[in-house]
């Protein structure tokens, strides 16, 4: 009974793009690739073309008035996807600038029709289309209008069973433009410059008949071409949403690699939890994180660390270096200042899969915030939320460190208000006892589990963190200046 048409989806060959398109590009669709100059439109078009074109599925690339074809070929050749063997085999270029400059669209349409009839392309690219529109302003009397032209082109190419891409610089203000209505798909590329960082963004404004990933995704252009980093999507757990692809949290608990800390956590950190370790500079957060990873390695649970330290070789402990060198844990170390969180998350997910990692350390959120391009900082909390959710979805156990200035008048766990995001919190503090700076640590929360409520003194030795006994006989510890409680003997 059901004889509905099945639309085949083409894999674009651009990493990450198919994901945000909702599973690839619908065959025979009429698409616009739009964006300001330099946003990567022509590169995207070429990358898709070289990936999709075959002898059986040839591509025609019409160059109009935009970039002179000579230059386009010169520069596009620099990308590794540019395969010379495909030129004049599966890919053919047709220059239309001469026809367009006459303003006679009948003639342009005739040229396109002729070329399409001769070559029977399965893929057609017109670059750039905005120049066609500008020329339209001085079109000849009695010739078909631009709107008719675009509609006829759309019908012609769909009729010829060609998947079509119009490349152009449109501004979204002209949203009423006929092309926007005719198009089945619209890909908007953009680049935003904030201070001295530049971030490339892509948005799928429209893609008929399929669920795209809404919102703005980031991408990067390297010598291999474009790589899209889909914005981390938080899976919806409401209703019938499958919980199957969310890794089930088992009852297992992970040893932290610091004796007595597991007891404080109520028997170790529950598997799949995220733990925030907050404390002032030098309080031992990275050492705790290192112990967590080393313990994992000892137990055959591979780990990954994302380090945002400014001088990694100095501040990362030797243990981490050794574990990375021997391939026991994966390291993402970045000091680039124009990252998007999605890009980091993508790298992280890849590395987690590659290492089959179950333990993840992000050291630290403060460094992370610095590394993220300024334009994303406003949304840092939201992005953090998404990242933690995605990692939870993978079933890994995450330890995040967060630098927290010691403030003795209030008790805070994170500067981002992100404490609620994590399942467990450990806080570290300095206190002054008898004119010495001592460290104390406490487990603030472990969701759904009993845990210690004691403030424990601890020391950092050559062997790592050594947790001492509960600090008894004092009060006002969190105020930074503990006083002996009257009951505990000597009162002065």
């Amino acid at each position: 009974m059901s004889n509905k048409v099945t639309i085949r989806r083409l894999a674009t060959g651009v990493p990450g793009l198919d994901v945000i398109l909702g599973g690839g590009l619908p065959e025979f669709s009429f698409n616009l690739i739009i964006g300001p100059p330099g946003s990567g439109k022509t590169t995207l078009a070429h990358q898709i073309m070289f990936a999709l074109a075959t002898r059986e599925r040839p591509a025609l690339y019409f160059t109009v008035l935009g970039e002179p074809p000579l230059k386009m070929l010169r520069y596009q050749q620099q990308f590794s996807f540019f395969d010379l063997d495909q030129i004049n085999e599966s890919i053919r270029f047709v220059d239309l600038s001469g026809d367009v400059s006459t303003g006679n669209f009948d003639q342009v349409l005739a040229r396109i029709t002729q070329a399409v009839a001769d070559f029977s392309p399965a893929l057609v690219f017109v670059d750039s289309f905005c120049s066609v529109m500008l020329e339209a302003q001085r079109q000849l009397e009695g010739a078909i209008s631009l709107q008719q032209f675009v509609q006829q082109l759309g019908i012609l190419l769909t009729g010829w069973q060609a998947t079509t891409f119009l490349v152009g610089e449109y501004s979204l203000e002209s949203e009423t433009h006929p092309v926007f209505t005719v198009a089945d798909g619209m890909l908007l590329l953009d680049q935003s410059v904030h201070r001295n960082s530049m971030v490339r963004k892509i948005q799928i404004l429209k893609m008929r008949g399929q669920a795209t990933s809404p919102g703005i995704h980031t991408f990067r252009i390297s010598s291999a071409g474009i790589v899209v980093f889909p914005a981390a999507v938080v899976r919806d757990d409401t209703g019938t949403a499958v919980t199957a692809d969310r890794a089930p949290r088992n009852e297992a608990r992970l040893a932290m690699g610091v004796s007595r800390l597991d007891d404080m956590l109520g028997g170790g950190l529950p598997s799949g939890y995220s733990l925030l370790v907050a404390g002032p500079s030098g309080s031992g957060k990275t050492i705790l994180a290192t112990a967590f990873l080393a313990e994992g390695v000892r137990r055959g649970e591979p780990g990954v660390i994302v380090a945002f330290e400014q001088t990694p070789s100095q501040s990362r402990t030797r243990t981490i270096d050794e574990m990375v060198r021997t391939g026991q844990i994966g390291l993402i170390n970045t000091r680039v200042l124009d990252l998007s969180i999605d890009e980091i998350v993508q790298h992280l997910i890849d590395l987690i899969h590659q290492m089959k990692a179950t333990r993840v350390v992000i050291d630290s959120l403060s460094g992370f915030e610095l590394a993220v391009a300024p334009t994303f900082r406003e949304d840092f909390r939201e992005s953090l939320f998404r990242m933690v959710a995605v990692l939870a979805g993978l079933g890994v156990t995450v330890l995040l460190t967060s630098e927290l200035e010691d403030r003795y008048i209030d008790l805070r766990f994170s500067p981002y208000g992100s404490a609620f995001l994590t399942d467990a919190i450990i806080v570290q503090r300095y206190i002054e006892v008898e004119s010495r700076l001592k460290r104390v640590m406490a487990v603030v929360k472990v969701r759904g589990s009993a845990h210690s409520d004691e403030l424990r003194q601890f020391e950092i030795t050559d062997k790592g963190i050594v947790i001492g006994d509960p600090v008894l006989g004092f009060e006002g510890i969190l105020g930074g200046q503990p006083r002996r409680t009257p009951a505990s003997g000597t009162v002065d």
């Binding site: 074809p69 000579l70 070929l73 010169r74 050749q77 220059d95 600038s97």
Partner: protein, 141 residues
């Protein structure tokens, strides 16, 4: 870049014991094939621009070629080519052959510096392929 292929193509086009006007004729024919191959890919304006430049470069060795650029109207490639043809035909046979060869070599090399040697070879290979008289005879006979 196979310079000999260009020489062979020109020689074949000019026929046996050619005079300067036969060489001019062959040069123009070869040039039309080159332009036909290239224009769709790099655009007519692109082809014209590189051609003007290679004419300019070649005229350093063959000063009489420089005039070809000035005879025609600016931007009128048909007039330019007609002028080129007349200039070639007016030379000694050997000089015409050398200039014609140098012009096409300079053109392909200039194109190669812009779009790379492999793409240039790929686009122009069909032009340099010497005609196959043997195969043609088989078909016609």
């Amino acid at each position: 870049m196979d310079h000999e292929a260009i020489r062979r193509t020109l020689a074949q086009g000019a026929g046996e014991a050619p005079d300067a006007s036969a060489i001019a004729e062959a040069t123009l024919n070869t040039w039309h094939q080159v332009a036909t191959r290239l224009a769709p890919v790099v655009g007519v304006h692109g082809v014209d621009a590189i051609f003007s430049r290679s004419l300019h470069v070649t005229s350093k060795d063959f000063p009489w070629l420089a005039m070809a650029g000035n005879d025609g109207n600016d931007g009128n490639s048909a007039a330019l080519l007609a002028s080129l043809k007349a200039r070639l035909a007016g030379q000694e046979t050997a000089a015409a052959a050398e200039a014609s060869h140098a012009l096409l070599v300079n053109f392909t090399e200039l194109l190669a510096t812009l779009i790379g040697e492999s793409l240039t070879d790929r686009l122009l290979a069909p032009v340099w392929m010497p005609p196959l008289p043997a195969a043609e005879q088989e078909i016609t006979s």
